[in-house]
Symmetry: C2
Subunit: 230 residues, 2 copies
DNA sequence: CGGGGGTTTGAGTCCGTTCAAAATACGTGG
DNA sequence: CCACGTATTTTGAACGGACTCAAACCCCCG
């Protein structure tokens, strides 16, 4: 569950320094770690919980551009681009982060060239994810995008239920970490459409929803939904 | 027009080495510099011309995720993520690039820590652009997205026509570097919709199209179109 | 002049949106 | 523990922007 942290490449000394200077912060569900438009004050490593990156335009439209999970790092784009935060970070669950101030990070980087490569890899993967989103949002219908989302959430929030294994089909239960509105913003659609899609998936026996609990009787069936357009 | 190259931070020695080892390549319009799915063989610096990054899914749907212009660098995402190319690079105009092989780049980076920071900044800006695209594609109608595109293209391809300045409104002419199909892929829509939008903009006196030549009688008017949704 | 690709236009359809209302879940205080 | 007010979710009906399919058009080139 925990990804490898970028900071494993630090020297002993800096590791210790980091442990001394950094400070942990706790956030309740629904809190804002930083706001779009604010000046970047460093980066945040997520120890536990899930954070949503929300981007809003001047007309008030917004999308969730990405979900950030425990073990990942927040704010590195703004730090390296030397721009203000271009999105807000909102906690979807209770979250523990550790904040590494701008100044300290400058120091660490200057002493540990390896660190750059870690961040480069990280951002490169983020960039790929973002471009993938551009493609899927425009080339797949909402239903298939929803299937995609459920599959990716199941990797983190899913508990595979061993009871129903006889038929050879993987049963799975997962607790969604967000409400319908946020799902809509993640799927680039409206809450009403999310609700309709959910009930359609239920009717077709692909996923049974009850509040934020989703039951997937046959995981392979869900995967075939994720293909989408013929 | 020419952006600052990442390689300005190299030491004298490496600058020279780079000039010896790198080799220039010429491509005609419509050529493919690399294909999605191929192994990353280094990066490409664009000396002149414009390149389109096209991402395609298993069903054959595709989008132009980004335009890359002279002075920018191609393939750095794949290089640092250590993955295959996740998109194809297609020239929209005749293009001159210089190819820096994987091996050489490894060397340069190990000797020039400053180089990492250059790339980090570059990718960070790309990531921001991609997320911006996610937002605009879903929150703005095609007409406003088209206005956005024309505005950004006018910065590179536009010639401001000084004749009509009396009225205080900037007139502008620009030669589009792509056909309607590619515009459609850039705007995440279909060629037919592009054609319809073009004729609508013409009817409303915002932009006059004639083939690939677009005439903008009043640049401010075009900008107000880019706001879009009420 | 006769293809042939790219572009434009037309008509009909569909997916997703909008607006509106009903149903359900939720927290709070009595 | 229940009643109430509020927020979230679901459902319904109607609309609309963009898509699909298809035909006409245009322009360049052989």
């Amino acid at each position: 569950m925990m990804e490898t942290s970028e900071f494993q490449v630090l020297g002993k000394e800096d590791q210790e320094k980091l442990n001394q200077v950094k400070h942990s912060l706790e956030f309740n569900k629904g809190a804002v770690i930083f706001h779009q438009g604010e000046e970047c004050d460093g980066i945040y490593c997520i120890r536990s919980g899930t954070v949503a990156l929300r981007k809003t335009d001047e007309n008030g439209n917004s999308v969730l551009v990405s979900l950030i999970h425990a073990g990942q790092t927040l704010g590195i784009r703004s730090y390296f681009a030397k721009t203000d935060y271009q999105a807000s970070a909102e906690t979807l669950t209770p979250v523990t982060v550790c904040h590494i101030p701008h100044r300290l990070l400058d120091e660490l980087i200057s002493r540990n060239p390896q660190l750059d490569l870690q961040f480069l890899r990280h951002i490169s993967l983020d960039l790929d994810e973002a471009r993938e989103t551009i493609l899927t949002n425009t080339s797949m219908p909402v239903r298939a995008r929803m299937a995609h989302l459920l599959i990716s959430l199941s990797e983190r929030y899913g508990k595979s239920d061993e009871n129903g294994e006889e038929g050879g089909c993987h049963k799975m239960v997962l607790e969604l970490p967000m409400n319908r509105h946020d799902m809509a913003e993640l799927l680039a659609t409206r809450p009403e459409t999310v609700a309709r899609t959910i009930s359609a998936l239920g009717r077709d026996g692909v996923v049974q929803f009850s509040g934020r609990t989703a039951t997937i009787p046959d995981f392979d069936l869900l995967c075939s939904e994720a293909e989408g357009s013929p």
